[in-house]
């Protein structure tokens, strides 16, 4: 019996010593949680009633997928130019195309005591509301680019979501494909699509199909997915060229990267007669290809402008220059104007844009390039 009791006491003691570090840990966690709530509650309070602030209280945040695509690298150059222009440091966040990572990194960036002005190339349409809510809770301002669901309207949200800006893929797709088909005249063309469940991809293909319906002598031989990927596009084009051979007179790609991959395959197959058209973005390499004559056309969405605009809207809202509550629905979410680029006008795109003029434009009329509302 006594031995039994001894054992029990030992066990109890052992339990207590084991529990002690756990208790310390629990206290620490609780303290940390209190600290965190204290931090976030101050952020939340200021978020309820946004008031104009000075430059020192602000930080600029640009969220992209990766630096390593020409499109996003140029986007950052535009954002950096705006940051230099207003004299506020720019923080660039890369998400590697991971929506979860995107949300947690944005939240981490918001956690500081400076008010954040966020411009984001949204990874997926479904991410937008969560990101916007996080920024709103922290009392920052956000402009979203490219992706959001149609039923989510920026103007239904608090003024912290200043605007949503995109480019209408239906216009790019139509204009580039139509010009290519007119050049081809008659014969077969193929289309290279982006990732299928992606809004710009489906919009651009819609534009392509409209052009096709208006070109009775042109037939679509095939359409394949090359997932915005240069290598994939090269391989798919290789296969299509062996399948259709001389029947192919034209290739339309939904973006520059895929068009550039197609150009490599076409050059290897020694088919300079094929007219290659790119639906969007107008990155430097694509302009150079237009100049060289290997790419027939592309569509410039001016990354420098887009990168700077995303921050300009938020900055002007934060400083009170722009009263978001008085903005029209069209100003809260709009398609910006792009430009069809071919051999006739490519020269002016070969050099980077005049950044001083761009800053001047954004200072005087931030809405100068609205093409139409997003409905």
């Amino acid at each position: 019996m006594s031995r039994d009791r001894q054992k029990r006491v030992q066990v109890r003691k052992a339990g207590r010593t084991a529990r002690r570090p756990a208790a310390v840990l629990a206290v620490l966690i609780a303290a940390f949680a209190v600290f965190l709530t204290a931090c976030t509650s101050t952020g939340g309070a200021s978020g309820a009633q946004p008031a104009p602030v000075t430059k020192d209280d602000l930080q600029l945040v640009m969220v992209i997928r990766t630096y390593a695509t020409p499109y996003e690298a140029e986007l950052v150059k535009g954002a950096q130019a705006y940051a230099d222009h207003v004299g506020i440091p720019l923080k660039v966040i890369t998400t590697d195309g991971d929506s979860q990572k995107q949300l947690s990194l944005v939240k981490a960036a918001l956690a500081g005591d400076k008010k954040s002005i966020v411009s984001i190339n949204v990874n997926q349409s479904s991410d937008t509301p969560a990101i916007v809510n996080a920024v709103q809770q922290a009392g920052g301002y956000i402009t979203t680019l490219w992706n959001k669901h149609d039923e989510v309207k920026a103007y239904d949200f608090a003024p912290n979501w200043v605007a949503h800006v995109s480019f209408d893929g239906r216009d790019d797709g139509y204009e580039t494909a139509k010009e290519m088909m007119d050049k081809v005249g008659s014969g077969g063309v193929v289309a290279l699509q982006g990732i299928l469940d992606n809004l710009p991809a489906s919009q651009r293909y819609e534009g392509f199909q409209r052009a096709l319906s208006e070109s009775p002598n042109v037939t679509m031989l095939d359409q394949q997915v090359a997932s915005w990927d240069r290598s994939k596009s090269y391989q798919v084009t290789q296969t299509l060229l062996t399948k259709y051979g001389t029947q192919i007179k034209g290739i339309w790609a939904a973006d520059d990267a895929m068009a550039l991959g197609a150009i490599t395959a076409v050059q290897e197959a020694n088919r300079p007669d094929i007219v290659i058209s790119s639906s969007s973005n107008g990155v430097h390499d694509a302009f150079q290809a237009v100049k060289d004559g290997t790419l027939f056309n592309t569509y410039a969405s001016d990354q420098y402008y887009t990168g700077a605009l995303g921050l300009a809207l938020g900055y002007q809202a934060a400083t009170g220059e722009l009263d978001v509550t008085k903005m029209t629905n069209e100003q809260r979410q709009f398609y910006a104007a792009g430009d069809l680029v071919d051999a006739n006008n490519v020269d002016k795109y070969l050099t980077p844009p005049d950044l001083a003029a761009l800053m001047n434009e954004l200072d005087t009329d931030v809405f100068a390039r609205i093409a139409k509302p997003i409905d």
């Binding site: 390593a68 890369t94 290598s231 090269y234 290789q238 296969t239």
Partner: protein, 340 residues
């Protein structure tokens, strides 16, 4: 005691016996993949216009080159029972290293052909690093190589800078384009890699011990083999293969592309498993993986030629992979009682 006295002497025969017995255990499973390949090939030849043409066969061979090289590296790692997920990152890192060392649009360097061995050595270094971390800190290989993937991508992103680096050296650009006697140059390079990989797996200690480690690591270690050293060697071999694949990808597109390896991880592992190499290690081989790659490349090409809807292609491809893997493992399903 005798084991300790003369490790290689006792280690090698034991391993050989294990490998031989294991390979002869299920003769039926070895015939599955080649039959699948022949069936697919015949089916597409009949159903798809333009499949059985010289042009398309050349395209097929060219498209098989990079997956083959990747699969060789993966096979040896998988034979040891480990996995290497770093393919895409290492390819990207080596692709950018190669592009920036030869004459290019970004910096003043012009190392000519030297860019090739240096870039491939970067791949070897990545593999060595992954293997070393794996055995030294006893971390699961999938975790370590997942990290190596990101490091490779990170290196590539840093090297990329703010504009796509373009290769300007005509010698390097023309290296893999075109054909010799009707065979794509890229495939000739891949064939050399396959031959070397096969020789390594067959005639070197590295290859033989890889089978042994995959068959039963504890027994191999007990028989005196320095398992850690050979494991590092296996990862370094895989990294070397990924490096070659990255360089090949660069010469093909003529630019340093961070996305150069995209899709090769899934393709590579599928090909290895499809060929009949067990993910648990110990059984399989380079030539089996060769068949696996051939099946997947023929499938991808054939589905486009046959005019399969783009919405269905991925699904069909995946379904064929699952069916083929099931058939490959059919004869051994009784012996494998635990599947993870």
């Amino acid at each position: 005691m005798t084991n300790v006295a003369s490790p290689p002497a006792t280690g090698a025969p034991h391993v050989q016996v294990t490998a031989k017995r294991r390979r002869s255990a299920a003769p039926g499973s070895q015939l599955g993949p080649p039959i699948a390949l022949v069936v697919l090939f015949v089916a597409f030849s009949i159903a798809a216009d333009g499949f059985l043409t010289v042009g398309n066969l050349q395209t097929l061979l060219d498209q098989a080159a990079i997956p083959l090289i990747v699969a060789m590296g993966l096979t040896l790692v998988i034979l040891t029972g480990s996995i290497d997920l770093s393919v895409e990152g290492v390819m990207a890192g080596c692709c950018l290293t190669f592009t920036l060392l030869g004459l290019n649009s970004q910096n003043g360097l012009d190392l000519g052909y030297w860019a090739i061995p240096i870039a491939v050595a970067v791949g070897t270094a990545f593999g060595f690093f992954a293997g070393w971390v794996h055995v030294t800190f006893k971390l699961p290989s999938f975790m370590v190589t997942l990290g190596t993937w990101s490091i490779g991508l990170g290196l590539a992103t840093v090297l990329y800078g703010s504009d796509t680096p373009k290769m300007l050296d005509e010698r390097l650009l023309g290296l893999t384009a075109g054909t010799i006697l009707g065979i794509p140059k890229s495939l000739i390079i891949a064939a050399i890699v396959v031959a070397l990989a096969w020789a390594v797996s067959r005639y070197t200690r590295l290859g033989r011990y890889a089978y042994g480690i995959g068959g039963d690591e504890a027994v191999t270690a007990l028989s005196g083999v320095n398992v850690s050293r050979y494991k590092i060697g296996v990862f370094a071999f895989a990294g070397t293969c990924f490096g070659i694949a990255g360089v090949l990808g660069a010469t093909r597109l003529g630019v340093g592309d961070v996305a150069v390896g995209q899709g090769y991880l899934f393709l590579g592992i599928s090909a290895v498993v499809l060929g009949g190499t067990l993910l648990s290690g110990g059984r399989g081989g380079m030539l089996q993986s060769l068949i696996g790659v051939a099946i997947l490349v023929v499938l991808g090409n054939g589905l486009i030629l046959i005019g399969a809807s783009v919405y269905w292609q991925k699904g069909i491809q995946a379904a064929v992979i699952i069916v083929a893997v099931t058939l490959t493992g059919w004869s051994s399903r009784r012996r494998l009682r635990v599947i993870k």
